[in-house]
């Protein structure tokens, strides 16, 4: 079944829960209201003719500073500077968080993509772990790395990072830590120039002939 047709079925069923459908681009995508996502998932799985029995992928997204014009001008993420210290910025994170669901049906052999957006201040949406068990770990990952809370998840803990980790690395405004617990993360600067800077030679005389390294 075409994605458009699937989306229309969703509109029929949920009405305002289906927010829109983006048809152009390499992958059509349906926007779903966050409160309706678990119901929509259950519907997509169980409705005859849809039968989405596999959740291929569940991605946590952070739309902070996304360049809407497609010019590649999104905000730069923060890393470490040359000296190994974390970069900081005054910018406050804005923009929604989101989740993308990619579904596949082994019986019907069709795919469907849906996305939800949740506000940054209250990133909470219902869990689909009860619909597809595979969502369990994917949602834990999204919780861990993006910081989205899934209501009704049976075991929502951090999965890849430590329980005590602060912040969510995949957020665009995440500042890299300079220490973790008692462990400093900057390390030794091995790239130090061993040769002190010298004055440029004003005469421009020829240096020694190049030798084999």
């Amino acid at each position: 079944m075409e994605q458009k047709a699937i989306y229309e079925k969703l509109v029929e069923k949920f009405g305002e829960g289906a927010l829109g459908f983006l048809e152009e681009g390499p992958e059509p995508v349906a926007d779903i209201a966050p409160q309706k996502i678990a119901e929509a998932a259950l519907y997509l799985r169980d409705e005859a003719g849809l039968e989405f029995d596999q959740l291929m992928c569940l991605s946590g997204l952070d739309w902070d500073g996304f360049d809407e014009n497609g010019k590649g001008k999104s905000v730069a993420i923060l890393g470490y500077d040359v000296g190994g210290q974390p970069e900081t910025s005054d910018r406050v994170g804005e923009g929604d968080l989101g989740v993308a669901y990619h579904l596949y049906s082994h019986g019907q052999r069709h795919k469907f993509t849906m996305r939800v957006r949740v506000p940054r201040t209250a990133p909470t949406l219902p869990s689909v772990a009860g619909v597809w068990s595979t969502a369990g770990w994917h949602e834990r990952e999204a919780y861990d790395l993006v910081g989205i809370t899934f209501e009704g998840h049976p075991d929502l803990r951090r999965i890849l990072l430590e329980e005590e980790w602060e912040g969510h690395p995949l957020r665009k405004d995440y500042v890299m830590p300079d220490r973790w617990g008692q462990v400093p993360l900057d390390g030794k600067n091995l790239a130090k120039n061993p040769f002190p800077a010298t004055e440029p030679d004003p005469s421009g005389s020829a240096p020694a002939a190049p030798t084999e390294d």
Binding site: G25, P26, E27, V29, D53, Q54, L55, M56, C57, S59, G60, L61, D62, F66, D67, N69, G70, K71, G72, K73, S74, I77, G79, A100, H102, H106, R109, T113, W132, S133, T134, G136, W137, H138, L145, R158, I159, L160, L161, E162, P169, L170, Y174
Partner: protein, 392 residues
């Protein structure tokens, strides 16, 4: 006994406890340094004697947050980070990533490059499956197949070294093609020779030495049975899904690259030694996939056209138009997908990696319960996980 109600699905756990005798479950920490956890997987087990009552995987010992790294470097540079996901089949990971990038980029990949991609990816898949057999045998206590499989893998590494320059991490693909053409005419001949050798002699040896060994069968038949329903529910893919009797292979059912051109079969578990979906089926699917990969390689070599090998110059920057797409390929472990959101620049806005081992491993929480510790080892081995891919 908090876990009395825990669902048991193996004959071992249905023994009733003698009423009146209080016993506690023993917590057992399996890993991260354990020979059978294939890297740094850590399992928190609650056991009653030999029987596992609860199994909680703890991940993240290899976490590098490659998805964050991807947001900071350009598309061409990230190819070599994909090598590090599944370091046993890096070419397959390259393939998944460049396929995703090309889906957004809409570039015409030269035919010759596609053939080279298929050949190297299948070689890499064979290498990965060889390791899977080898380490699985090792988990089962058979040392010798390990060394035999590594011997054949070494031949693959030599072939890949000749074309790509690396022995383990190749960085061979670029968006829009592959990095280099074949080094010389002899290379393709050597590939064919190796494939023939593997098909006619070595796979037979493995089968006799390991697959059809009675002890090996007894260890694996009816152990860790994943039903078709569970496999779908937990998003299992690759040999794990096919071991459960589902004929699904991205190369055939969601085709990419030039796979539709080639004639090959998708081996599925048939429950020859026990139930459909047991460890032996998953193991045997891999052995048979080696043979099918050999077939694909032979066809790809035979029909390889001439011409360029990359559509975009190696030094040219890759720029993607804005958009988002999920693309999946069949890596040796299963469905390896990349969800790339591009904002129109040289770097992805978001690159989510859906790694097969991550999804395949999750089922251990369900299937691991009620098994013996020895069977759990067999089960992990039959899932063929790679921690570099799980933790990313």
């Amino acid at each position: 006994m908090a876990n009395q109600e825990t669902k048991m699905n193996s004959g071992w756990a249905d023994q009733d406890h003698v009423p009146g005798i209080k016993s506690e479950l023993m917590e057992l920490n399996m890993g991260p340094q354990h020979p059978a956890t294939h890297g740094v997987l850590r399992l928190l087990l609650e056991t009653d004697g030999e029987i596992v009552h609860k199994c909680t995987p703890v991940l993240g010992y290899l976490h590098r947050c490659a998805e964050k790294i991807a947001e900071g470097i350009n598309y061409k540079q990230f190819v070599l980070y994909t090598d590090r996901f599944d370091y046993l089949a890096p070419v397959c990971c390259n393939h998944a990533y460049v396929t995703a990038v090309e889906k957004l980029m809409d570039v015409e990949v030269p035919e010759r490059a596609e053939h080279l991609r298929v050949i190297t990816a299948e070689l890499s898949r064979i290498a990965s499956h060889l390791i899977a057999l080898a380490t699985f045998g090792l988990d089962m206590g058979a040392w010798t197949p390990l060394l035999y499989c590594f011997r054949e893998r070494e031949a693959i590494l030599d072939l890949l070294e000749r074309i790509a320059g690396g022995r383990m991490l190749y960085n061979f693909f670029v968006p829009g093609g592959v990095r280099y053409d074949v080094p010389d005419e002899k290379w393709t001949a050597d590939v064919l020779e190796f494939v023939t050798m593997l098909e006619t002699k070595k796979v037979k040896d493995y089968n006799q030495l390991l697959s059809y060994n009675k002890i090996f069968i007894e260890r694996l038949a009816d152990v860790g049975v994943i039903s078709q329903q569970d496999a779908f529910d937990y998003g299992s893919t690759g040999p794990v899904l096919r071991g459960s009797g589902v004929s699904f292979d991205c190369r055939k059912d969601d085709p990419y690259s030039v796979y539709p051109k080639f004639d090959f079969e998708v081996p599925v578990g048939r429950g020859e030694m026990g139930t459909v979906g047991d460890c032996w089926d998953r193991y045997m699917v891999r052995v048979r996939e080696i043979e099918q990969s050999c077939r694909i390689i032979r066809q790809a070599v035979d029909t390889m056209p001439g011409g360029e090998v990359h559509a975009i110059g190696l030094t040219k920057p890759v720029k993607l138009p804005a958009g988002a797409a999920y693309s999946r390929t069949e890596s040796s472990k299963g469905e390896l997908g990349h969800y790339i959101i591009s904002d129109g620049g040289q770097m992805p806005f978001r690159n989510k990696v859906r790694s097969p081992s991550f999804c395949n491993l999750q089922i251990i929480e369900k299937i691991g319960v009620g098994q013996m510790v020895s069977d759990l080892v067999a089960f992990i081995g039959s899932l063929d996980i790679v921690l570099g891919e799980i933790d990313r």
